[in-house]
């Protein structure tokens, strides 16, 4: 796992959260902008997933492997769940649901990096 990729993921996640908050503030549902941001976030997370799987296949193991894997898999599901749920919400709170998903991802990727970097210690 690399810090720049985690920084990129959390930056995109925060953009998604901001867009979600904006549409709630403007009393709107979610639209194309949210889909694009969520798609970009998903792409970054999938790239990260592949890189981590390759590194683990190469023999690298974080000490708390079970926790790490749980985070690794669930963080990929969060944007999908957020988008699906936001799309089915007719009120302006759809954006806030998406914002929560974005914030959760932003926290989770840094926790992932923390778990991963405990390898050396």
């Amino acid at each position: 796992m690399s810090t720049p990729l985690v920084a990129l993921a959390s930056a995109v996640a925060l953009v998604l959260a901001a867009l979600g908050g904006l549409s709630t503030a403007l009393r709107r549902r979610t639209g194309l902008a949210h889909l694009v941001a969520a798609g970009a976030l998903q792409a970054v997370l999938l790239v990260q997933l592949v890189l981590v799987v390759v590194a683990m296949a190469g023999g690298q193991r974080p000490p708390e492997t079970a926790t790490f894997l749980a985070y690794l898999v669930s963080v990929v599901l969060v944007p999908v769940a957020g988008v699906l749920w936001a799309r089915s919400e007719p009120t302006r709170w759809a954006g806030t649901v998406l914002a929560v998903a974005g914030l959760v991802v932003a926290v989770m990727v840094w926790r992932l990096l923390q778990l991963w970097e405990a390898t050396g210690g």
Binding site: L26, R28, R29, L32, H34, A70, G82, E89, W93
Partner: protein, 179 residues
């Protein structure tokens, strides 16, 4: 620009726990149920002997979050009552565990969700039950208003007294937060 941000939103029409702001609460509660549950599962499975009290507390908090999530998501009178109880248990839990973890650090060698009032989780565990209870109280008020507006005639007792005036119009009561 505006359309890309989505079509204009509908106004939440009914007193459902799983619509509008309630859906945000369900999302956050669901996240915490999953996070606390997964954490407790890993801790109990791999290192139960190190801090059994803390890990059992993690598991307990996960159950409370799960009950609150289900109660909020299901809605209705029963779901709301379940959610109120879960929120109260959660509030007491975070306050008691938070205080104990500060007073007697030795008893909590490893962190739980509720340690130091949920500091490890951005104090969200402290805010969540308060928000939940406020939202549930608001829903109860909305439902009472709707019941008063409709004022359906009682089906089997046509000579019952007329419905009382809506309680929300009582002077001095704070206005309900707009949703």
């Amino acid at each position: 620009m505006a359309d890309r941000l989505g079509a204009p939103a509908a106004e939440p029409g009914d007193a459902s726990t799983a619509r509008g702001p309630g859906r945000v609460l369900v999302a956050v509660y669901g996240t915490f149920a999953l996070a606390a549950g997964a954490r407790a599962a890993v801790q109990l499975a791999t290192q139960f002997d190190e801090a059994p009290v803390a890990y059992l507390l993690s598991a307990f908090s996960a159950v409370v979050y799960l009950v609150a999530t289900v109660g909020l998501a299901r809605g209705g009178r029963g779901g709301r009552r379940t959610a109120v109880v879960a929120c109260l248990v959660e509030l007491v839990g975070v306050l008691v565990v938070g205080t104990l973890s500060l007073a007697d650090r030795a008893a909590f060698p490893d962190a739980t969700v509720w340690s130091v009032y949920g500091q490890g989780y951005g104090f969200i565990p402290l805010a969540l039950p308060v928000l939940g209870l406020l939202w549930l109280r608001h829903l109860g008020e909305v439902e009472r208003e709707e019941a008063d507006q409709k004022s359906p005639p009682p089906p089997k007792s046509p000579k019952s007294p007329p419905p009382k005036s809506p309680p929300a119009s009582a002077p001095g009561s704070p206005p309900a937060p707009s949703s």
